[in-house]
């Protein structure tokens, strides 16, 4: 009787997380003298990120679920998430076994299927589409080119990553951070370099939150006072018909040229058409609020859960974070420099500052352009002009992602 009792207690203790922490098997990352420092460090990192989300309000809507997902997944024995099921344990050609995932997967494994199958990013894009007003872009289509120029950082960071020794697929995923668009980065990374997903997602979302700090110095450095003072003409009114035709045209044009961008651009435009149509008010509200919020929770928590000690606590995470900053800065510079070209070509009618809004990050980047412009001249209202390149940037980074996905198939 008493033996049974003691056996019961011993096996209970052996199955607690604490026991696991202090009885780490050799070979797991950062295990010394039987103590699993890897998991401990990950729990600390998770807490720091929770602090950044709540205390500093860095994109809290995403960072909070991400950081808590990280916490959950790194509790030993919690069995919520099994990365091995998705990325294998080092095999050359790993094939996911869906039956295995459904039978043995924990809660987060099942939710992660939505990331792995590319469902969440597209659903989020429906919501973003329904929240976006494309009329500044329709009124001033030139700004599409600024949205393209601000993808420069994507390709520069891609090169940087190659030089630092990442392989092509990983480099593409890192480069796409420069698109400043979370769902796009996640869609590319989960396909091309799933092991880097947590680092890339965290870098992308943190830098998006830091845009008001990253961009202004670059903007001041690259533009002259005279350029910053330019007041732009009021945008022409856009008719409802134009706003209805726009999403359809964009879907068809982009879809025909870069089919791999359709999951993003198509969903973005679907959301926009639902809103602009005016006949599906309920759907529009649902995709903007409930659907978007639900998916954001699932996306955040599962992306965070992929951060395990042996993939996250690596020097490459630091490289990714550094390259992300490079990508954001160069994208900003690309937009600004193209803005300067336009300033010259239009004989001073375009304020180059709006170019910096070509990095997606809607509407943060446009607000930064407005703030910097207003510092020079408080009566200058650049916000609506900057929204054009800003939403063009979303299309631009989705196209860049489509190109990467397409190239990855042939290389």
């Amino acid at each position: 009787m008493s033996e049974l009792f003691i056996n019961g207690i011993t096996s209970f203790i052996q199955n607690t997380g604490i026991a696991k922490l202090f009885a780490a098997t050799e070979g797991s990352a950062l295990a010394f003298a039987g103590v699993d420092f890897g998991s401990i460090v990950m729990l600390i990192v998770a807490c720091v990120l929770i602090y950044l989300a709540i205390g500093k309000q860095f994109e809290p809507l995403l960072l909070l679920p991400i950081s808590f997902g990280m916490l959950l997944a790194n509790l030993p024995f919690s069995n919520l998430m099994h990365n091995v099921l998705f990325v294998g344990s080092g095999e050359e050609h790993f094939v996911m076994d869906f039956g295995e995932i459904l039978h043995n997967g924990g809660l987060l494994d099942l939710l992660y299927l939505g990331v792995k199958l590319g469902i969440y990013p597209s659903l989020i894009f429906i919501g973003i589409g329904a929240m976006t007003d494309f009329s500044p872009l329709i009124a001033n289509p030139k700004s599409l080119l600024l949205g393209a120029a601000a993808q420069l950082g994507v390709f520069v960071a891609f090169f940087g990553a190659l030089f630092l020794g990442f392989n092509l697929m990983e480099a593409m995923s890192i480069g796409i951070i420069g698109g400043a668009d979370g769902p796009t980065a996640i869609l590319v990374t989960k396909t091309l370099a799933p092991k880097l997903l947590p680092a890339i997602a965290i870098a992308a979302y943190s830098y998006m939150a830091l845009i008001p700090i990253i961009q202004p110095p670059i903007m001041k450095l690259l533009t002259t006072k005279k350029e910053r003072l330019v007041k732009m003409e009021t945008l022409r009114p856009v008719s409802k018909l134009e706003r209805l035709i726009f999403p359809i045209i964009v879907t068809v044009v982009v879809g025909l040229i870069v089919p791999d961008a359709v999951p993003l651009v198509g969903c973005l435009m679907l959301g926009n058409l639902i809103k602009e149509s005016g006949v599906a008010e309920r759907l529009s509200k649902t995709v903007q609020n409930e659907l978007m919020n639900i998916v954001t929770i699932f996306l955040g928590i599962t992306v965070g859960a992929t951060a395990s000690a042996d993939t996250f606590l690596q020097p490459q995470t630091l490289y990714i974070i550094a390259l992300g900053l490079v990508a954001f800065s160069i994208s900003t510079a690309g937009g600004l420099l193209f803005g300067k070209v336009m300033y010259v070509l239009t004989k001073g009618k375009v304020n180059p500052l709006i170019g910096s809004a070509g990095v997606s990050a809607v509407p943060m980047a446009a607000r930064v352009a407005q703030t910097v412009g207003q510092k020079e001249d408080p009566t200058n209202f650049l916000l609506m002009h900057a929204m054009g390149p800003n939403v063009a940037g979303v299309i631009g980074s989705a196209v860049a992602a489509g190109v990467f996905l397409a190239m990855a198939k042939v290389l």
């Binding site: 599409l144 080119l145 945008l235 009114p237 040229i257």
Partner: protein, 112 residues
């Protein structure tokens, strides 16, 4: 080294595609604009709504009223549920001199 050459190919194709796609969209949108502005010219007369400003606003510096006008436009747009593009403020005047009952009624209207 092979990686870098392949990378160069990817980057060049990538940049060119992004620019090409967005440039094509630009052309399509310009085309759309030409078509629609041509059509709109016929019906142009109805469009601009000149709205006087019925909203009492705190004193603003008279020399530079562009900020005030922006505020007024936004307020009218919000209360009419319309885009600011359709509004053009031609003039505004303070209406605080109205009798107190008129003002109450107006406020009720705005709040309701």
């Amino acid at each position: 080294m092979e990686n870098i050459t392949q990378g160069a190919v990817v980057a060049v194709i990538g940049i060119c595609t992004v620019f090409a796609v967005l440039a094509i969209l630009w052309c399509v949108l310009e085309l759309m604009r030409v078509v629609f502005t041509a059509k709109n010219k016929k019906t142009a007369k109805q469009a601009p709504v000149a709205a006087p400003a019925p909203v009492p606003v705190a004193a603003a510096p008279q020399e530079d009223d562009s900020e005030l006008i922006a505020v007024l436009t936004a307020a009218i747009a919000a209360s009419l549920n319309q885009s600011t593009y359709n509004l053009k403020i031609k003039s505004y005047r303070r209406v605080e001199t109205a009798p107190v009952w008129n003002r109450t009624a107006r406020r009720d209207n705005l709040n309701g």
